[in-house]
C-alpha cells in the first residue's frame, strides 16, 4: 500500500455518559482501509462494531479521534460539507424489514438519496434506480412495488441497490446477511463480493460471523469490549490467529463437519460491562492465557508478522 488509504481512522473513541457512569463503548480505535479493499470488523455483541461503522459515516458523533476520508477529516466538517460528501459513502443495514419504509415504493426508496442530493431529472433518477435493480439481480418492475411484496433476501438486495444508486466509492455494510436464511445468505454474499469487485468498492464489512467475513474480506479487525485485539489479512488470521480472544472465538464456532474436532476451549463468563472495563487488557478476565502483568497496562497493538498486529503481551500463545 503505497497509495494513501481511502479511509484512515485515528484514535476513535465513543463514550456515553449515564447517571453515575461513563460507558466506554470505543477506545483508541485506529485502522486504515486502502482504496478497493474490504476490511471486516468482527466481535461479539457490545464489542463496538456498529458504533465504529456509524461513527465513520458520522451517523453518530465520535467522542474523540479523527476519521480521514480521501484527505479530509470528517469529524471537523460542517453539516453542508459533510452532506456534499455523503453520496460517496453509503450504509447497508442489517434488518431488511426495518430499514425499508413500508409506505414508499421501491422506486421512491431508491431515488430518495438522489433527490436529496439534487442529482438528475426524475427520469434520470428512475433510470439509475432501474440500473441499481439490475445490478442486484431484481426485475425492473420491482420499482412500482412496495417492500412487503418482497422476501427477506430480496429486501436485502433492495437495501444494497439503495446504497448503489449514488455511485459511492465507500460502503459500510452492517451485518448485511445476518438476518437471512442460510440458502439465501450465500446468494447475497456472492452478490456483494461480485459487486465489490466489479465496481471496485471500498468496504467496511461488519459481522459476527467469522466464516462470512473470511469469504468476503481482505483484512479483518477483531474487536472486544471497544478495543482492537488483532488485525491481519483474512488468510493469516484464519490460519494463524495470534490473539487468545481470536483463537477462542474461532474454536467456539460449531462446525457441521462430523469429523471436526469437538475439543475446544470454552470461554468462561460474560463480556464485562463497558461502564467498568477491566484494567489493562480488557479481555484478561476471560482469557485462558492471562498473566499478572496483563492487568498492569493496556497492551498496544504490535506487529507480530508482516501486516499482522495483535494487542497481547504474550508471544507464546
Amino acid at each position: 500500500m503505497t497509495e494513501a488509504p481511502l479511509l484512515s481512522v485515528r484514535g476513535l473513541a465513543k463514550h456515553y455518559q449515564t447517571r453515575g457512569a461513563t460507558l466506554k463503548i470505543l477506545q483508541d480505535i485506529s485502522f486504515d482501509i486502502a482504496k478497493g479493499e474490504v476490511v471486516g470488523l468482527v466481535g461479539e455483541s457490545g464489542s463496538g462494531k456498529t458504533t465504529i461503522g456509524r461513527s465513520v459515516l458520522r451517523l453518530i458523533e465520535p467522542s474523540a479521534g479523527a476519521v480521514v476520508f480521501d484527505g479530509a477529516d470528517l469529524t471537523k466538517l460542517s453539516g453542508g460539507e459533510m452532506r456534499r460528501r455523503r453520496p460517496r459513502m453509503q450504509y447497508i443495514f442489517q434488518d431488511p424489514y426495518a430499514s425499508l419504509s413500508p409506505r414508499m415504493t421501491i422506486g421512491e426508496i431508491l431515488t430518495e438519496g438522489l433527490k436529496i442530493q439534487g442529482i438528475g431529472s426524475r427520469a434520470e433518477r428512475l433510470e439509475r434506480a432501474r440500473k441499481a435493480l439490475e445490478q442486484v439481480e431484481l426485475p425492473p418492475d420491482a420499482i412500482n412495488r412496495y417492500a412487503h411484496e418482497f422476501s427477506g433476501g430480496q429486501r436485502q438486495r433492495i437495501g444494497i441497490a439503495r446504497a448503489l444508486t449514488l455511485a459511492p466509492d465507500f460502503i459500510v455494510a452492517d451485518e448485511p446477511v445476518s438476518a437471512l436464511d442460510v440458502s439465501i445468505q450465500a446468494q447475497v454474499v456472492n452478490l456483494l463480493r461480485d459487486l465489490q469487485q466489479r465496481l471496485g468498492l471500498t468496504m467496511l464489512f461488519i459481522s459476527h460471523d467469522l466464516a462470512v467475513v473470511e469469504y468476503i474480506c481482505d483484512r479483518v479487525i477483531v474487536l472486544y469490549l471497544g478495543r482492537i485485539m488483532e488485525i491481519a489479512t483474512s488468510e493469516d488470521l484464519y490460519t494463524r490467529p495470534q490473539h487468545p480472544y481470536t483463537q477462542a472465538l474461532m474454536s467456539a464456532i460449531p462446525s457441521p463437519d462430523p469429523d471436526a474436532a469437538r475439543t475446544r476451549e470454552i470461554l468462561k463468563g460474560d463480556i464485562p460491562s463497558p461502564a467498568n472495563p477491566p484494567s489493562g487488557c480488557v479481555f484478561r478476565t476471560r482469557c485462558p492465557k492471562v498473566l499478572d502483568a496483563c492487568a498492569a497496562a493496556v497492551p498496544q497493538l504490535r506487529e507480530v508478522a508482516p501486516g499482522h498486529f495483535k494487542a497481547c503481551i504474550r508471544d507464546d500463545v
Binding site: E44, S45, S151, G152, G153, Q154, D181, V182, S183, I184, Q185, A186, Q187, V189, N190, R193, H208, D209, L210, A211, V212, E214, Y215, S234, E235, Y238, T239, A248, L249, M250, A252, I253, P254, S255, P256, D257, P258, D259, A260, R262, R264, I266, L267, K268, D270, I271
Partner: protein, 338 residues
C-alpha cells in the same frame, strides 16, 4: 438405543386458518425420540420446525393454528403413554413444565420482567409439586447453581434485566428442568447468543441431558449446532421432513438435494482463502423458499433443485429408506448420490 420412545409423532399435520384459507405449516411428519436421545429439527424460516414443537406442547394460537391430523404419543413420568393431540387443556397443563420442559429462543421475552428469577424458576415446583414459597426458592437456588450461575442465592432474588443474555438463558434452562421432565423441547435456544456464550450453553445442555437421560427435541436453523448437539436430525422444507437420519451420516453423505445444498452453501471457517484464489463462489441454492399458501405440485423443492425432472413435479415423493435409519424424500437419491 432400543428403549421405548418417549415421544412418537405420527403423520402430524398442523394447519393455520387465515382469511378463510387453510395453510398446512406442518404436513405429515413422523418423528421418534427415545430417552437420552437428542433429535434436531433443522430448516429455514417457514419450514415448520417451530410449529412442530409448538404442536407437541399444544401452544398453537387458539382458533388459528389447529392440529388437523395425526398423533403425538408421549410417555410421561408416570410411564403412561398419552396422545397429546386429544388431551384436554387441563391434562395438558399437568404435562407442560412437569413432564415436558421448554426453552425458547429469546430469554428476555420468555422470562417475566416483574418477577424475580427465583420466583419464576420455582413456579412449576409450586404448581406441580405443591412446594411452599420458601422451599421453592431454596430449590431454585439449587437449580441456578446446577446450571452454572455463580452466586446463585443473590441471583435468585434478582429480576431478568439484571442478568446478561447468557445468564438469562441459563435461568430459563433451570426453569425448564425444575420438575425433572423426561422431554426437553428447545426452540433455537442459542440463536440470540454470541458464539462464545452459545458454546457454554450447548455444553451445559449436553451435560444436563446426559446426567438426566432426558429426550431432547432441539429446533435450530444452524447446521453447526446440530452437529454439536444432536444424535439424529430431521431436515424440514415447506412443512415436510425431506431427510432424516443420524447426524454424522446425514452430514457426511446427505441423500437429499436440499440437505446437500444447505451444507454446501454454509461458508466454512478456513476455506475461503482458497476459494478466493480460485475465484470460486459459495454454492448457493437458487431461488427462494416457496410460500406455504402457494406450494408447487409435487416436490416443493423441485423449482430450486438442480436434479429435478418432470416426475418430481407430478407427485410428492415419499420418504424412501436409504437404510434402516436414514430416509430421503427424493425419487432420485440413488442416482444423485452416486
Amino acid at each position: 438405543m432400543t428403549s421405548e420412545p418417549i415421544l412418537e409423532i405420527s403423520n402430524l399435520r398442523t394447519v393455520f386458518r387465515v382469511r378463510g384459507r387453510e395453510i398446512a405449516a406442518v404436513n405429515g411428519i413422523d418423528l421418534v425420540i427415545r430417552p437420552g436421545e437428542t433429535v434436531a429439527l433443522v430448516g429455514e424460516s417457514g419450514s415448520g420446525k417451530s410449529v412442530t414443537s409448538l404442536s407437541v406442547m399444544r401452544l398453537l394460537a387458539r382458533r388459528i393454528g389447529v392440529i388437523d391430523n395425526g398423533s403425538i404419543r408421549f410417555r410421561g413420568k408416570d410411564g403412561k403413554t398419552k396422545d397429546l393431540v386429544t388431551l384436554g387443556e387441563e391434562e395438558m397443563r399437568q404435562i407442560r413444565g412437569n413432564d415436558i420442559g421448554m426453552v425458547f429462543q429469546e430469554p428476555m421475552t420468555s422470562l417475566n420482567p416483574v418477577y424475580t428469577i427465583g420466583d419464576q424458576i420455582s413456579e412449576s415446583l409450586r404448581v406441580h409439586r405443591r412446594l411452599g414459597r420458601r422451599e421453592g426458592v431454596e430449590a431454585a437456588v439449587g437449580l441456578l447453581d446446577k446450571v452454572g450461575i455463580p452466586d446463585a442465592r443473590r441471583r435468585a432474588g434478582q429480576y431478568p434485566h439484571e442478568l446478561s443474555g447468557g445468564m438469562r438463558q441459563r435461568a430459563t434452562i433451570a426453569m425448564a428442568l425444575a420438575c425433572d421432565p423426561t422431554l426437553l423441547i428447545a426452540d433455537e435456544p442459542t440463536t440470540a447468543l454470541d458464539v462464545t456464550i452459545q458454546a457454554q450453553i450447548l455444553d451445559l445442555m449436553q451435560a444436563l441431558q446426559r446426567e438426566r437421560g432426558m429426550g431432547m427435541l432441539f429446533v435450530t436453523h444452524n447446521l453447526g449446532v446440530v452437529a454439536e448437539i444432536a444424535n439424529r436430525v430431521a431436515v424440514m422444507y415447506a412443512g415436510r421432513i425431506v431427510e432424516t437420519g443420524p447426524v454424522a451420516e446425514v452430514f457426511k453423505a446427505p441423500r437429499h438435494p436440499y440437505t446437500m445444498g444447505l451444507l454446501k452453501s454454509m461458508p466454512r471457517l478456513g476455506t475461503a482463502s482458497e476459494m478466493k484464489r480460485t475465484g470460486a463462489k459459495l454454492p448457493a441454492i437458487p431461488g427462494m423458499v416457496p410460500s406455504l399458501a402457494d406450494l408447487p405440485a409435487g416436490c416443493a423443492f423441485a423449482p430450486r433443485c438442480a436434479f429435478a425432472r418432470d416426475a418430481c413435479r407430478q407427485a410428492m415423493p415419499a420418504l424412501s429408506p436409504v437404510n434402516d435409519h436414514h430416509g430421503s424424500r427424493c425419487i432420485r437419491w440413488q442416482e444423485i448420490s452416486a
